[in-house]
């Protein structure tokens, strides 16, 4: 069984986000970019499925600017076998919407016929949490979102999901789309020899036109602003003072 893993190049998790003064968006020029952390977990899980003998091949795909190649190379260095880059944007500030991404991925799925698509539950840039669900809808497949455990048995997968108040376990018929949550695994670091080896793994480059998909946005961004700040209050000297403030000044207890 083949596993397809979509990966997104996003601002690095540790970089402080700066909103452009003219309200046009977040400044991504000369900012460190990395693989979306949830996608890293998906890549790791796919590689583990291969190591367990469940998966035969791990194919990674990225949709975005040309530099997304680096993200794909990272996935190849972790252990993915092959990569597909769909060059859909020229400017790093262009975010391809989840619906368009899902349509492109549906095109890739038709060519590659994977048994599972393993995706991150959300990207840490637009925080949309939508692509996996949308892809499952377009394909008419079952979906299991926010996975914290995944077990594949024959033509079914049992998935434990992170839901409000606890965990839910469901069984999905394969092929299926599974989106992964933080606690599924801890992604490995690529070793230097594997980083070198990744450079010679196959990476195909495509365009949205190859899949007949129009990626023009449905949403217009009117403006992007900084969230309202919050001012620091006062430091209290003791527990007694804290209780007094909460009772008399704030009136919350």
């Amino acid at each position: 069984m083949k596993v397809l893993v979509p990966v997104k190049r996003v601002i690095d998790y540790n970089v402080k986000v700066r909103v452009k003064a003219d309200g046009s968006g977040v400044d991504l020029a000369n900012v460190k970019m990395s693989m979306n952390p949830f996608d890293e977990i998906a890549v790791e899980e796919a590689i583990r499925l291969k190591e367990k003998g469940v998966a035969t091949e791990v194919v990674v795909v990225s949709i975005g600017v040309k530099q997304s190649q680096e993200t794909l190379r990272t996935a190849l260095a972790m252990g993915a076998d092959r990569a597909i880059l769909i060059e859909a944007a020229a400017d790093v500030h262009t975010d391809i919407e989840p619906l368009a991404v899902a349509k492109l991925l549906a095109g890739v799925v038709k060519e590659e016929a994977p048994g599972i698509v393993l995706a991150g539950k959300q990207a840490i840039d637009n925080d949309m949490n939508a692509t996996g669900q949308m892809l499952a809808a377009l394909l008419g497949w079952s979906q299991a979102t926010f996975a914290s455990e995944l077990a594949v048995e024959g033509d079914k997968a049992t998935v434990t999901r992170e839901v409000d108040g606890g965990l839910q376990t469901i069984s999905v018929a394969l092929p299926a789309v599974v989106t992964v949550d933080l606690r599924l695994n801890e992604p490995r670091y690529a070793s230097l020899p594997n980083i070198m080896k990744a450079k010679s793994k196959p990476l195909a480059t495509k365009t949205p036109a190859d899949y007949g998909v129009d990626v023009s946005p449905r949403l217009t961004v009117v403006k992007t602003t900084e969230p309202a700040g919050r001012k620091a209050g006062v430091k209290v000297g003791s527990v007694d003072e804290l209780i007094a403030k909460l009772k008399d000044e704030a009136g919350v207890i």
Binding site: S148, G165, K235, L242
Partner: protein
Amino acid sequence: MAVLLLADVNNGQLATDALAKTLDAVKSLGDVHVLVAGQGGDAAAAEAATLAGVSKVLFAEGHDYCHGMAEATAALVAGLAGGYSHIAAPATAAAKNVLPRVAALLDVMVLTDVTAVIDAETFERPIYAGNAIQTVKSGDKVKVFTVRTANFAAVGAGGSAAVEKISGETAQGLSSWVEDKVAASDRPELTSAGIVVSGGRGVGSEADFALIEKLADKLNAAVGASRAAVDSGYAPNDWQVGQTGKVVAPNLYVAVGISGAIQHLAGMKDSKVIVAINKDEEAPIFQVADYGLVADLFTAVPELIEKL
């Protein structure tokens, strides 16, 4: 045009607070029809009909819609979409699972975690873990969105809408429910609690997290945790407050042993009053706290419990 609002129902129990806050968010968009789906949802449907601003309740009974199973529920909602300009739901785990699927079935984009409805086409939502707020306009024929309930006030009772039974698409054998492991608790629910007490990495162990719970119980509060505490195994994931967990806005938020990483602040910075207890006076949590106490939590919290 009207709004179709998908209610969150779990084992026949309506998530009333989430629905009431979502009603507040969508009240300017037109008549609101609430959809209650699932076997045994009669009482939930009747309860939804009493909320202010609900003009009709649609009740689709059927096992296929139970447990928030995405495939059948999304097909049901998409089948009803023709009569509506907007399809909304509170941004619960269940709706986050279902609504993007609905949007794709309708060939429209979805907007998740909406924090403000500006007009019928324009919405605000946080991006980059709440470090930026984006205002977006949708040109789609139906606007499908989830609402971050912490930003809205719950509407009251006073409605008397009619409940109409409907039927719709059912499952196609794609998925089946196995079990729920939901911790039973007498404490208030995290996203609707008036007071939340959260512990962070500074608590140091799962055993010591009991101290946080004890303080919460003293205040009749819900218990939260930072992602660091969850990652370290001190607290379960469904207690997580932050961009990757729950977003809360209680009257009082008490952060104990939490440094205040951006991702945590994104989940609680809209709280009315924030208290921080941390022994590191340089901790960023103090920059957002109304009342900061620089102290060792293992002496301050027991003292607080005793004196409250």
